[in-house]
């Protein structure tokens, strides 16, 4: 079954990136925000993202218009009832996500696939709060969504093979390679990258090398596009810390303990690109 109508709930960085990617693949998207002012902010962010891509020759102006035309903004969640697949990207808060899914569960046909973009919460637990645990699945996109070629498809305890297959097919249509994973803290991508970032921070804290040199060494040594510290700055150091704490809590292994320097920077409000300074200045 080819999917033609998708709704994205939540217009943060991930929501905008996901909606833009889907529209870029030629599929119509309903982008749903919680109220009118948030929707206006989201639409502005979307417009700016696309302008940036045009300035970098990645898109032409007509392609931008076409993409925008495929994305319908709304703050009325019930309009998502017409979608065949719904991707939820609201704030990482169990009760909030549960509430959103409860609303959607009421208005959507039972065959509609529910996707959550969570990276920390339990899919099985969220799925259990709906009437469709078999059609409930996680998708972990990696930021920046339009440029990253991979997506993790997370199978909850009750997710059906058919749902996984459909979502994998959908990911393929978006030009992404789907990596099927079982629900487990950090899946693949986060579980591997975060300890590396944390270790890089330890190296800086222990005075082994400067932040610049750590990044240069890793970039040139392992052909990374960004060094681990620049990557952390881009992700947001508060996010990195929250993630490490989550892995530490869930898996209980000391290797996931957040580096004290990371904690210190977060407390000082130096969160990376979004505050203008983290390990580097922006």
């Amino acid at each position: 079954m080819e999917i033609h109508r998708v709704a994205v709930i939540g217009g943060g960085t991930m929501g905008v990136g996901i909606a833009r990617t889907i529209a870029g693949a030629g599929v119509e998207v309903l982008l749903c925000e919680k109220d009118q002012p948030s929707l206006a902010t989201t639409q502005k962010a979307l417009d700016e993202t696309l302008d940036h891509e045009v300035a970098r020759w990645g898109l032409t102006a007509p392609e931008k218009t076409l993409i925008l035309r495929r994305i319908t903004g709304t703050w009325k969640i019930w309009e998502a009832a017409h979608a065949e697949l719904i991707i939820e990207t609201v704030t990482e808060d169990f009760d909030l996500k549960k509430e959103v899914f409860a609303k959607l569960d009421e208005i959507c046909d039972p065959v509609v696939i529910f996707v959550t973009n969570t990276s920390t919460l339990s899919i099985s637990q969220l799925a259990a709060s709906t009437r469709r645990p078999a059609s409930f699945v996680g998708l972990h996109f990696v930021n920046p969504v339009p440029k990253t070629g991979v997506v993790e498809v997370i199978r909850g305890l009750q997710t059906s093979d058919q749902t996984v297959e459909q979502v994998q097919q959908f990911a393929g249509m978006l030009g992404k390679t789907a990596i099927p994973v079982y629900e487990y803290p950090g899946y693949v991508t986060t579980r591997v990258i975060l300890p590396m970032i944390n270790e890089a921070i330890y190296i800086v804290m222990e005075g082994v090398a400067t932040a610049e040199d750590v990044d240069t060494a890793m970039k040139l040594g392992y052909k990374l596009e960004l060094g681990p510290l620049a990557l952390a700055d881009r992700m947001g150091l508060d996010e990195v810390m929250a993630w490490m704490e989550h892995l530490f809590r869930e898996l209980g292994d000391l290797k996931y303990r957040p580096c004290p320097l990371l904690r210190k920077l977060v407390r000082a409000g130096r969160l990376g690109v979004k505050t203008g300074e983290g390990f580097f200045k922006y």
Binding site: H4, R56, G58, K147
Partner: protein, 412 residues
């Protein structure tokens, strides 16, 4: 022995179609009949646009939900069989469907009936034309289901150029890249180059086998072809339609080292650099105004310097390639202009042919100005090399090839 042939040209979100009645006799006398034509645009949306025309009679345009190519072709069938605006009573009247397939790789040297093995081979080479072949095939799958009794024929953009010798079709790269990935020059617009060279011969009541021709297809995409006694011996497009002449939004030839330099300095991904070269360059990139030659000619008349520069670059590069193909052929009997710009922009033709008298090319200003969109000889009476304008008609050639494939007669 007339047949009604449906010609389909399927893009990612569009279907262009023509219904043509043709027969060997009609081909010989150039009397094929266009029964209907149209387009379906914005496929995959709730508001696809269908335009349908019966030449000289009706013209309609409407919008409706069309989510995939099969639904689009179904809509085409209902338009063609409509009791009021239709031109046939039932779909079974269509005896053949001709599909434009962009890339035939090294497999296909001419038009062929789409038997299972053929479709498999086209699927095999999807990698060579990922933007075109998959959509061309969608048209085929839909058409096979909708016209089970009709012959399905593939007509390739690349096939005409299969006669290029190795020195023309290979690159100066490690040979293993050719054997491993089939990196070589394929050439495109073959149907157009073939059609106008055939027409030229037909106008002169001879066969193409008597002439050496340089055909210039100048549209939004541009290519030239050197045709020696009916066979393509070289063309300007290569592995992809990016090589050769400067085009509307494509760069044409450039030093690959410049690409590597820009990629490194602007931190561009492969997708971004592909978009830069294919969609942000050419007339549009140089002028910063438009990819439309009409706009640029208008602006340069008003003194817009960058518009002038873009036109100058376009014409100069075309002139250089024309000279190269002239050398490849060791002379030419005629140069033929076709395509949107080639057929309708006398100023561009004049600028390309200016100061080419060393090659026997001299055009007559008045004849050139008068020739827009019509077949005509625009060369100076005494010129050694004729210059012609011949409007292209790729759909017609696809219909004719389809008919000839069904009747198992030579393609000409």
């Amino acid at each position: 022995m007339e047949m009604k042939i449906l010609v389909l040209n399927c893009g990612s979100s569009s279907v262009k179609f023509q219904l043509i009645e043709t027969s060997p006799e009609q081909i010989a006398s150039n009397q094929d009949r266009l029964l209907a034509r149209g387009t379906v645009d914005k496929i995959g949306t709730g508001e696809a646009i269908v335009a349908y025309e019966v030449p000289g009679k009706t013209k309609t345009k409407f919008s409706r939900e069309i989510l995939e190519h099969k639904a689009a072709i179904k809509t085409v069938v209902s338009a063609l069989t409509d009791p009021l605006a239709g031109v046939i009573a039932k779909p079974e009247e269509i005896e053949g469907v001709g599909h434009r397939i962009v890339h035939g790789g090294e497999y296909f040297t001419g038009s062929v009936e789409m038997e299972e093995a053929v479709v498999k081979q086209i699927e095999d080479i999807i990698d060579l034309a990922p933007l075109h072949n998959p959509h061309n095939l969608k048209g085929y799958y839909a058409s096979r289901a909708l016209f089970p009794g009709a012959a399905q024929v593939a007509v390739f953009d690349t096939a005409f150029h299969h006669t290029m010798p190795p020195e023309a079709h290979l690159y100066g790269l490690p040979y293993v890249l050719y054997t491993r990935y089939k990196i070589r020059r394929y050439g495109f617009h073959g149907t157009s180059h073939r059609y106008v060279s055939y027409r030229f011969a037909q106008i002169h009541s001879t066969t193409r086998a008597e002439y050496k021709l340089i055909t210039c297809h100048l549209g939004n995409g541009c290519s030239m072809c050197a045709i020696d006694h009916g066979k393509s011996v070289d063309t300007t497009m290569g592995f992809t339609p990016l090589e050769g002449l400067m085009m509307g939004t494509r760069s044409g030839d450039l030093d690959p080292a410049a690409v590597l330099y820009v990629m490194a300095n602007e931190d561009l991904s492969a997708a971004e650099v592909s978009s830069l070269l294919n969609k942000h360059s050419g007339l549009y990139g140089v002028s910063g105004i438009s990819n439309d030659m009409r706009t640029l000619l208008e602006e340069s008349r008003k003194g817009q310097a960058r518009a002038r520069l873009a036109v100058d670059l376009f014409c100069y590069r075309a002139k250089k390639h024309l000279g190269a193909l002239y050398a490849a052929l060791n002379g030419a009997d005629a140069v033929i202009f076709t395509g949107g710009i080639g057929e309708n922009a006398p100023a561009v033709r004049a600028q390309i042919c200016d100061r080419l008298d060393a090659l026997g090319i001299q055009i007559d200003t008045e004849k050139n100005e008068a020739a827009t969109g019509v077949e005509s000889n625009i060369s100076d009476a005494g010129a050694a090399t004729q210059v012609w304008v011949i409007p292209t008609n790729e759909e017609l050639l696809i219909a004719r090839d389809t008919l000839r494939t069904i009747l198992k007669i030579p393609h000409g």
